[in-house]
């Protein structure tokens, strides 16, 4: 059964986003407060007391609702903490949106936060329940799991390793280049293709610059019923589609799975597009913020999200079609490559870029007349993932 969706029912009327990076200066509470204060500061008429409920997304920076209520000193309001791999921040937004669409609350805040740099380790840490010691995830790192895409894609589509390397390098170059124009990004220096190509290997052919960084950050969104949106701001952002797919993990056991696609992403996109009335995403979207955890991931996503023909994404990437000035800018804010990936915050950080673009507040990154945006997250690993897709727009619209 297709999703009914909540198109046209809720709107975002304020957002906040902390600076992302190695925030040795800031605790989890500080990060939350930084995003929260920016969010409420844009709405002088709204105080803490008027927010009815909160959804908090964090993978590992705190347990329970108190992680948020403690940080902002909220007064005995409901706080729901959610976790869904790398889609955690988006999951907070999705469920908060549903609460408003259901009429349960009028003003709800979705918050995402992650404080990764305090661990002292590279990459993400897993907090697995006690296990039998056989799961590949306990030892195989995320870059290793995603590095499997590269040779598989080359094999299936007859792409030479050098061509694929060039496409991967272009993704890293593009997203870092976009990040140079974003004051909130972790990495703001341009990175040359030569530097990307010669970086130390992490796993398979993935070098350091093929991997998203590790950072701290927080972001949040204030969500209200669509019909009340203009009471708060003259430029609200409307939710048109929200979808989430948790795969059956079949791919990890299925000999027909070939590591060149994420079926979970294809399904999530189809669902979100149907809700939003989108049938030609490459033409109808103004920008897309996608989960560029590793460079080959972004290449495969261009196909799974319907931006490129199957087997052609590498060519479209090299042709600059997803560059800031291309036919569909992808990750114009710099993506995970420039922001790092504080898991709970990333999904809301993507929505924050759509928010800024729609309002004309994206500074040097401002696109001409953006009206519809996609945000996307991917969690887990090829064969066994969760995927989130949203479609948001700058006005309530009715598509044919």
């Amino acid at each position: 059964m297709p999703s009914n969706g909540i198109a046209g029912k809720v709107a975002v009327v304020a957002m906040g986003c902390s600076k992302f990076g190695e925030r040795w200066d800031a605790s989890t509470d500080d990060l939350i407060l930084e995003a929260y204060q920016e969010c409420l500061s844009t709405l002088p008429g709204v105080t803490r007391a008027e927010v009815d409920a909160y959804w908090l997304g964090t993978l590992s920076s705190g347990l329970g609702g108190l992680t948020l209520s403690r940080a902002i000193g909220s007064d005995d309001k409901p706080v729901t903490r959610v976790e869904n791999f790398c889609a955690t921040g988006s999951e907070a937004f999705r469920n908060a949106s549903y609460a408003v669409a259901a009429g349960a609350y009028d003003i709800v805040m979705a918050v995402g936060v992650e404080k990764l740099k305090d661990s002292g380790y590279s990459g993400l840490l897993r907090q697995d329940p006690p296990g039998d010691g056989t799961a590949p995830e306990i030892s195989m790192t995320a870059p290793a799991a995603f590095s499997l895409l590269d040779p598989a894609y080359c094999e299936r589509y007859g792409v030479s390793p050098n061509e694929m390397r060039a496409a991967m390098t272009h993704v890293a170059w593009k997203n870092h280049d976009n990040g140079t124009r974003n004051p909130k990004a972790q990495f703001r220096s341009p990175v040359s293709p030569e530097t990307i190509d010669s970086a130390p290997r992490v796993a398979g052919r993935l070098g350091v610059f093929d991997c998203s960084g590790v950072s701290d950050g927080a972001a949040c969104a204030l969500i209200v019923p669509a019909e009340r949106a203009y009471e708060f701001t003259d430029r609200p952002m409307f939710v048109e589609g929200l979808s989430l797919v948790a795969g059956s993990t079949r791919g990890s056991m299925d000999s027909s799975f070939d590591y060149t696609t994420f079926p979970e992403v294809v399904k999530a996109a189809k669902d979100a597009y149907a809700q939003a009335g989108i049938d030609r995403p490459a033409q109808q979207l103004s920008l897309a913020e996608v989960h560029d955890c590793f460079t080959p991931t972004e290449i495969v996503l261009m196909e799974d999200l319907g931006f490129s023909e199957t087997g052609h994404a590498w060519k479209d990437v090299l042709g600059g079609e997803f560059d800031a000035g291309g036919r569909l800018p992808v990750n114009p804010d710099g993506g995970l490559k420039s922001f790092g990936h504080p898991v709970g915050a990333s999904g809301l950080r993507m929505l924050y870029e759509a928010w800024l673009q729609f309002r004309g507040e994206a500074g040097e990154r401002q696109l001409a007349d953006p009206h519809t945006a996609l945000t996307h997250n991917l969690g887990g690993r090829p064969g066994s993932c969760v995927s989130f897709v949203s479609v948001v727009s700058n006005q309530l619209r009715h598509r044919d």
Binding site: G123, G133, T134, S139, M140, A144, R201, G204, M253, S255
Partner: protein
Amino acid sequence: MTYGLLGYASYLPHYRIPGATLGLRKGDRVVASYDEDSTTMAVAAARRALRPGEMPVALYLASSTPAYADKTNAVAVHAALGLPSDVLAADMCGTARSSAAGLLASVRGGGLVVAADVRVGRPGSADEKTGGDGAAALWFGDGTPIAEFLAARSVTAEFLDRWRAPTSTTGSQWEERFGAQRYAALIRSAAAGALEAARIADADHVVLACPNTAVIKRAATLVKGQKSVTTSPIGHTGAADPLIALAGVLDIAEPGESILLLSAADGCDAIALRATDALPGLRQTPSLAIQRSEGSAVSHLTYLSWRGLVELEAPRRPEPERAAAPPAARAERWKFGFNGSRCTACGFTHLPPLRVCRSCGAVDAMIEVGMAGLAGTVVTYTVDRLAFSPSPPMVQAVIDIDGGGRCTLEVADARPDTLEVGTRVRFTFRRLFTAGGVHDYFWKAVQDNAE
């Protein structure tokens, strides 16, 4: 009542330290990889010794370097072999003599005796240079034997030749010539007793194992063999030593020839066997000589890090959590036996086994399928330089198993330069890591072209 020998095999690990780097004039040292221990090598040897469907009535694991104390190591071997729960599995741990005890118990009551050892010497020591790591298995029971048991004789004597604190990985030895003198008399006495009981003047083949290298050097002068007097080709391997050496003779003995095994450790155990007509058809492949000639070089430094004698810089990643007892017990048939489940409704194979079919949704319509003895093909693979590993980088591969089933496994004894999509693999029982004192045993893939 005694039982005949029904099967045998030796297992030598893949790695060799070039002799030149150890101060040896020639040859090399056979060493177990970082993910091997006496338990995993015992599994490797036992899997070679048992043919499909063969079920010994008991399993004895002999080792001077057991992976655990206070926990029976033979039980993990039992689980990896998929033996029925009513088969006794017991350790005979402590010294090089333990395997002779297991052998005699198997001769007299039936059973599989597996001996395995990872011998460690202090860097630069004679033990480091002249020891070796390996395993061998013999199994005795009803059936057509490849060798008949003729007679056994044991003599015991208390004197100090070798010793090691139970908490230490490296041991000590008294002046070698003292022990050699004592052993010479014990060997002659045991040999004479066994030969007399077997009503043989001189055995065709004599196999001598002893932790005292002066004895090994004099082997041919101590006991006469009409056709051969041999010792282990890999140096002293603790409890595995006599069984590995015997495997080498079983590789070549002709039907009707007698074999006298002499294991001299704190006494001497002499066991006389006679090869039967069935032996030539059931010799192990590859032979011990071929196993000895194969392998890949490993640097001395890497080896020392494997044994914990030097600590190398690790990737900035946390060590994995120890495997938890209840989940590991629930998953015994998977974790130790490498059994998956196959849907009887649609045939989809699940690794690890699942109750709900990922293909057709049928619930609890599964049959168990064993994967350990099958082969597979690499679908894709990666070299993971970030992962925690006792010996980075970690190599992992996605594998399609012949007959159905896909899983992601680490590659053991990996040679990334010859690993590619389409490489054929088999499966080997290894130790992924040790955390909290708990060894995490599971299966890995091993390249067919690496053997």
